[in-house]
Point group: D2
Chain length 224, copies 4
């Protein structure tokens, strides 16, 4: 299957990230597809994902603070709003259905691999600029899109998860974020940005974040 | 007239800010009430306020990034969303009705007093924590509430402006922000926070931001 | 007299900053040269400069935090160290000789124009990256160098001030900072950086900071 | 052996960090003491430590940017200066003697556990204030002091390492940092700070950073 087309930056960064395949074809992902992922691993993942979403929302908030144009701010603000006011409550509901009460979510200890990824993203944003933040956020947003596209049509115990990320809404979000990133690059660096030294450091940000995503799946497979 | 009750922190900070009266009873405010404010001063103010709102939105985005609890993040995110997706488009529409096209807004040069206030707020937030940011934001949010409450019922050319800030929606926002601030203080510093050294530095943040708000009105009276 | 050559970025940014001449040939500067600057204006300036130096040091600290290479970090760290451990004590000593005790310096209320400039610089650094910070710092560091070069050889009451900024040590610092900036630009954006959109936003940072420096001199002429 | 006394905050935070013993008595530490640590593990650690020191220096730079008083800024600036201009060159020299050329250090890929710790510290500092940053930095600075004190007098292949951290200079640094932290707490929160909710969140910062230090030693034992 071919990779989804989420824009120019994604295509370039994806091709140069050594761990992209390990991330998007991880045993955890395979387990979602085949339905063989142990349930306690999935529940462990859901709990960590609750903590993750909080910090991921904070990262999109930082993107709004660091935006250069009103359009960038509105895009980041809309994503933050969707995360904080739609995704988070949805996640809480899905977890409750899976037998994890909200209190258990709130008292979840943050796994080291979870800390590593979210703090890497936030620190990239604080120390760098909007582009650094986007390059560090992209593997999560767009990688889940690519994984979702791979798993579209999956049946079995994880059909819902697969339908969410493979569905039209999430795929549209990926296209929008890809467009946001491509526009932000051209706005700052011009159309030939891939030839600049800056392109290397952004690709390195993306590659490091991808590596940390592999760790996140590894963590999912090792419930405490 | 008595001051509106937007909570404990506001009551304390307001009482200790030397320029609070100069801010809330500025000649610009008087001019709005009596209708004697020159129209070109008001239009100048509206244009600067467009630039201001962008940076003010960024400050609320930063608040979401710096929040400690999901509830704080949701509150900050909701404010950001209202600013970026409701207030900003509304401001553009009101300016258009007043004869200022959107392009004129976008090309507005940022006045020094405008820069001073917004950068002070953002830097307080970046260098300090959520509380520093709230103390620096409060004079704007809650001061406009107090001014609006003073001017409620005003007729004449600026009746709309007065009705907006004196109206129930904005007054409710002020109560909500006051509650957010009081809760954030107790969450971090406990119920006796006014006795801590930290209370002095937060009050100083509020006082400095208030002083810069006086500068903003001064600027409004001096269209270039 | 020709402008000093502090490198390529300075030459470009200086040429495109509308207020550069107003800054480097301000009445305050003229007063230093001719000796006609009122002494209480100079003392007022010295007190504000004490507060300024604290925030300026913080800005160089932020530059070290945001540096991309060990060499950049060492350069920023050396500047911070010189400011915090040499310049500040020197400033305290000079003020004492001028009749301003250290306690008076520490209790100096920060003028709005002082706040405006330092917070603009710090916020540029926090919201942007190392380059944004350098573009916002440059008008101060290099502008004082250009003014110092203009005033070299000045006699009269302000001979010491002129000798400091016109002297070889400070001129060398300006060359070093110019080299740091030029290197940081090439490291990130390549040798053709002036043709990128980014160059416009960096020049705008420099121009805004220059405008705020004019405000700083204005403030110096208006002792409270 | 009793714990070294690096001040009140350290004593409290140390006592409440569940992984403190696992960190300070890790198999890596034991291996340094007994001399049984495999050499390639030590060399792996030295290379990662080079990358670590760069980000640790950036964290102290951020502390200077976030300081509240001139004394805090001077203390943070002095530490940064020592790291960037003394420790880093020393580390490069020691590595060269151990057979690792500087180019190998510069091209070291940053291990996930290294990323996790340094980005956690920096993000704590950016999102929080000076105190958050100190609580996140403390396990490294003061933990190495406690380990050094334990290992003082060690002979064998790692005698130099043990002598460095157990030596009077490093122990003095630990006392100074402990004093800086205790002073910063009292300056902001008053003498009863341990009773405030803030004390819990700072202790949690310290505990999380300690947990990530355990990961750093684990990484040291697993050369790629």
């Amino acid at each position: 299957m071919t990779a989804p087309d989420y824009g120019r930056a994604f295509t370039l960064w994806r091709a140069s990230a050594p761990h992209w395949h390990a991330y998007t074809h991880h045993a955890f992902v395979e387990g979602l597809r085949t339905g063989t992922l142990p349930r306690n691993a999935f529940l462990h993942y859901l709990k960590q994902d609750y903590v993750f979403l909080i910090h991921f929302s904070r990262a999109w908030a930082l993107a709004a603070a660091k935006s250069d144009t009103l359009a960038e701010m509105q895009a980041a603000s809309a994503t933050l709003h969707a995360l904080a006011h739609v995704e988070m409550p949805l996640h809480v509901r899905l977890c409750a259905e899976a037998g994890i009460p909200e209190e258990a979510l709130q008292s979840t200890g943050e796994a080291a691999q979870n800390l590593a990824y979210t703090r890497y993203v936030l620190e990239a944003g604080y120390s760098g600029d909007f582009l650094d933040l986007m390059a560090a956020l992209a593997p999560c947003v767009l990688g889940y899109g690519e994984i979702g596209a791979q798993l579209a049509g999956t049946t079995g115990p994880y059909a819902d998860w697969c339908a969410t990320y493979g569905g039209a809404d999430y795929q549209q979000l990926c296209h929008d974020v890809g467009t946001l990133i491509d526009g932000a690059l051209i706005h700052r660096l011009g159309p030939d940005w891939p030839s600049l030294p800056r392109a290397q450091s952004l690709a390195a940000r993306f590659a490091t974040a991808t590596r940390l995503e592999v760790g996140f799946w590894d963590m999912g497979l090792s419930p405490a």
